[in-house]
Symmetry: C2
Subunit: 332 residues, 2 copies
């Protein structure tokens, strides 16, 4: 295992420590709870607060989305492991500005269990909590049971929309409604070329042949739709888009935001080749691109591959997409 670290057991804590040292003007841990990190200016009085959280190893997901116009606080687990309900509860108390808290996170069993328990603890303290679980990965379950899908890079779009809505002063019910609208409008599918290695185990997250890719892979190496021969960028992007456009029911004349997301070790140069293919494929179908995003928005350590997300736009989402956002990792 060739990684820049000290000891695998300290991987998460030392990495968070580096983030807090580098960005102490933006982020602060909750006292006594180093895995609960909040905006430096939290709680923002009168604003709906957004709490997120999940396993480590997906930067900028989740910690990187804490900042103005996005999330207010995050609980951080070990690599690919849910954080504790205690950390979630500490975040909740620290960010509540009196207008309630939205729990916004990816749809995984451990996270759901712990966030649900934290919500009970919060209710006992008189803090109103609502929940939206992002489930954008079309490869992880069929349309008929889309509530069972995993949450992947589409999280970015839901943070962006819900965060802007909260920043604009909307009520908790309204922020939840808008987050659900964003969730209904987003789909993601990925392709994996090579696994990452989890520091604590020293093991790769999946096995794959030298000339194979895994279509529909999850961000922890969960199996996708199929293993297949490595194809051209043109062919891979067409496969992903056919699934996304069909599932999201995007048609000629529609507008979408596009996210070409690198999963960790994919060069930006390759992501832009992929973006060119996306742009040309959508143009041929008469689908307009409202705004493109290309880069690393949800990673799996050094996993090689990419994911493609589409967010179907409408006039009510545009002001939230266009609003500024500023975290140590994302500036829009």
């Amino acid at each position: 295992m060739k990684k820049i670290l000290n000891h695998p057991d300290d991987f998460v804590d030392e990495s968070i420590s580096g983030i807090l040292l580098a960005h102490s003007n933006f982020l602060t841990p909750v006292e006594g709870e180093p895995r609960a990190i909040i905006r430096k200016d939290a709680p923002v009085q009168g604003k709906v607060a957004i709490a997120t959280g999940g396993g480590y190893g997906h930067l900028p997901v989740f910690l990187g989305y804490v900042g103005e116009g996005m999330a207010d606080g995050v609980s951080v687990g070990n690599v690919f492991t849910s954080p504790s309900a205690d950390a979630m509860f500490e975040v909740t108390k620290a960010i509540d500005g009196g207008a309630g808290v939205l729990y916004l996170y990816g749809n995984y069993f451990g996270d759901k269990m712990n966030f649900d328990y934290a919500a009970e603890l919060a209710a006992d303290e008189g803090i109103r909590v609502e929940t939206v679980r992002v489930s954008d990965d079309v490869a992880s379950a069929p349309f008929e049971s889309k509530d069972k899908r995993r949450g992947v890079a589409g999280l970015f779009f839901v943070y962006k929309i819900a965060g802007a809505c909260a920043e604009a002063g909307a009520s908790l019910d309204e922020v939840k409604r808008v987050a659900e609208q964003a969730l209904e409008s987003v789909r993601t599918m990925g392709v994996g070329l090579a696994p990452c290695i989890i520091p604590a185990s020293g093991k790769p997250t999946f096995e794959i042949g030298a000339d194979e890719v895994e279509l529909g892979i999850g961000i922890h190496g969960e199996p996708g739709i199929q293993k297949q021969q490595l194809a051209t960028a043109n062919e891979i992007i067409a496969q992903l888009l056919e699934h996304l456009v069909s599932d999201l029911n995007v048609k000629s004349g529609d507008e979408v935001c596009v996210l070409v997301n690198g999963t960790g070790s994919t060069p930006l140069e390759e992501l832009y080749i992929a973006y060119k293919e996306v742009h040309e494929w959508l143009a041929k179908k008469g689908i307009q691109i409202y705004r493109p995003f290309v880069g690393e928005y949800a990673t799996s350590l050094e996993m090689a591959g990419l994911s493609l997300s589409l967010l179907k736009m409408n006039d009510s989402l545009k002001p939230f997409m266009d609003a500024p956002a500023r975290t140590p990792f994302i500036r829009l």
Copy 2:
């Protein structure tokens, strides 16, 4: 070779095409010269223009630094290969706003030859050109012959400082003087864990053992100071800092900007572990951090490793460091 591309011969052109499609509001190619890319608002009348360029495969170096407060135009070569003097000359003509042009690029033989020839062509057209070649890689030549050193991630700091100086309305002589001051104040050293593969050849840039790292590696896989056993983040960072601090003559009470740069496939999580080590090492020596940067600022496709740059600060550099900058890849 497992990459997301169509044909290796089209790698650069298709990737640039994706960048121009995604960022057409910021960037435009010079007519008839697709490898000459300029700011959309170029030429900015009365402003000193900054031209850069070099081989492809180092994003955001070089193309990613074209934008407000940084460079005005770029000529793009094939992967790890100098662009043509023609492309450089086309950039020069397209960005000159009447106040002259600074050529600011990394110290490599091919780039020097072509930029020098482009400067002659520009002189024939009555455009004044001055040149600053960045040579920040301490591992590539001893202090006594530091003009022979290669240009690596420290380019970022020189773009930032010189770009802000030009944006503030300084003369060509003044922008050159400030760029040279930044160059005198910056040092970089890298460590390589695994090579990248050049698309056209399908070959890795260097050979390395499963438990080895190469200290002082160049951004094209040029040999460094030594191959050594993989050590802890703490030990690697101490090695790099000892070289940098000695070469730059940084002492207790001095202030530096820090850049922990990922070379392509290094997870951000590891870069922040490295940053923690940098922060603690410098604190012990009484060296203050003026501003930290952690992320991918100069890559080598999917090479694994990192580089560490220090910029010794003084009061005259601070306003240039703090000025805003905005490109499709960098927002400060």
